[in-house]
């Protein structure tokens, strides 16, 4: 008995799918949701290179792309400039050090780096503890990992596209929530967050891939 949120998912999703994503900036110009790139997004590929061959040039590219954004995230979440600067450097060092744990079949680079930045915000800046779920074993072959990674990358591109095409007010609410400007009860009470829309986009593929991989139905 899942408690569903009461947003008008179907209508919002129709709007989304009807819209082109022309304003989504990407090296691989993507004009429609249906036209999926056939390669991993470049940042996920960089992170794989860091993981597999300690590629320092790839790390520097990731740093230039994400470190200024991680710092912006930490400042918006309430950190001072000095705290955010230190925590950003620590978070980016963690990206290098934990690269061996990165699994592109589960998350792309921006998602994975977001979770590192968020955890740094909680334990480094707020000095709080965040219980984490037990990790699951992923015993898949390289071939399966590659195809799952591609699907995850495409889904994440679709999510970015979905976020960038949301009405301003809805997008700002999502940003406020992720920038720690909303308490959990505000998130629960806030009916303007298009959870349904986002979730429908996310669920198109991810569940299937992931359930398939873990052998569950």
């Amino acid at each position: 008995m899942r408690k569903e949120t009461t947003f008008d998912t179907a209508r919002a999703l129709d709007q989304l799918q009807a819209k082109n994503c022309g304003n989504f900036s990407s090296n691989r110009a993507m004009t429609k949701l249906e036209e999926q790139p056939r390669q991993l997004d470049e940042w996920t590929q960089c992170l794989i290179n860091v993981r597999d061959s300690q590629d320092q040039a790839a790390f520097v590219r990731l740093f230039n792309q994400f470190a200024p954004r991680v710092k912006a995230y930490l400042i918006k979440s309430g950190g001072s400039n000095a705290l955010a600067e230190d925590a950003t450097q620590e978070a980016m060092a963690t990206v290098w050090q934990k690269a061996h744990l990165f699994n592109p079949a589960r998350a792309g680079a921006s998602t994975w780096i977001f979770t590192i930045a968020r955890n740094k915000q909680i334990d480094g800046i707020r000095k709080q503890r965040r219980p984490e779920p037990e990790d699951v074993e992923w015993n898949t072959g390289d071939q399966e990992e590659a195809s799952a990674a591609l699907e995850i990358s495409q889904e994440e591109t679709a999510i970015r596209c979905a976020v960038s095409t949301l009405p301003d007010a809805q997008r700002k609410l999502i940003e406020r929530a992720f920038f720690n400007d909303m308490s959990h009860s505000e998130i629960a009470a806030e009916t303007g967050i298009p959870l349904g829309t986002i979730k429908s986009r996310i669920r198109l593929g991810l569940n299937k891939i992931r359930y398939g991989m873990t052998g569950l139905q």
Binding site: W112, N180, I198, R210
Partner: protein, 216 residues
């Protein structure tokens, strides 16, 4: 370690709050325990994390200090490699709970709170608290309602109340509107993890009088 018999899942709002980092530690523990047992919510949660990734990627850049990159490279060079995540021995408790208890149910320091019911308060900081409840088979927790939000997850056995029956992995959400008397199944003692941000409101006089002493 996934249980496909779970019927009562997390809400989207709770998962989003966990993903953003807005959820107090006590509720986060319930989320982490449920997700440890539930693939469906694990997928949904990873989806919310992907939403966070999208927000991060579209955030306007802040200026880094001069030399931030070389400072980061120094940090990498001077920090010992991170350990791989801890592996836990098979246990009746999910891994995130084992971290608080130091193992499974055999490691819990129970305190009696009357009627055969026992509890153990977990060392948690923040505005909400979490406790383990041990309800002997067939026994009931006295009729109560809630001031704030209560999340209760079953770890062993099952209980039934006015809403439904809840078994291992299931999570019940209680708020001002829920007044219930959870009764443990007859077959097995029931162990639950409960997180609340306000004291329970008991209907009976005796539980109310005991409340200050048992800290529930």
């Amino acid at each position: 370690m996934t249980d496909t018999t779970i019927k009562h899942h997390l809400t989207d709002a709770i998962m989003m709050a966990y993903s953003t980092g807005a959820l107090p530690e006590a509720y986060s523990l319930v989320v982490a325990c449920h997700v440890s047992l539930c693939s469906e919510c694990r997928c949904a949660l990873e989806g919310f994390d992907a939403l966070g990734g999208a927000v991060l990627e579209q955030t306007r850049k802040s200026e880094l200090s001069e030399g931030a990159l070389s400072a980061t490279l120094d940090l990498i060079a001077n920090t010992p490699a991170v350990e791989t995540p801890k592996k836990y021995a098979p246990s009746d408790f999910p891994a995130p709970l084992q971290e608080y208890v130091g193992g499974g149910s055999d490691r819990v320091q129970w305190r009696k709170i009357g009627g055969g019911v026992k509890q153990a308060i977990l060392p948690i900081e923040g505005e909400a608290n979490a406790r383990l409840l041990y309800i002997p088979a067939g026994m009931a927790v006295p009729d109560h309602s809630h001031n704030g939000l209560e999340m209760t997850m079953v770890l062993q056995g099952a209980f039934s109340d006015e809403v439904d029956r809840f078994a291992r992995g299931d999570v019940e959400f209680g708020d001002e509107d829920l007044s219930h008397t959870p009764v443990a199944d007859v077959g097995q003692d029931c162990i639950c993890l409960a997180a609340t941000d306000a004291p329970l409101k008991f209907k009976g006089l005796i539980p109310r009088m005991l409340q200050p002493f048992i800290n529930i």
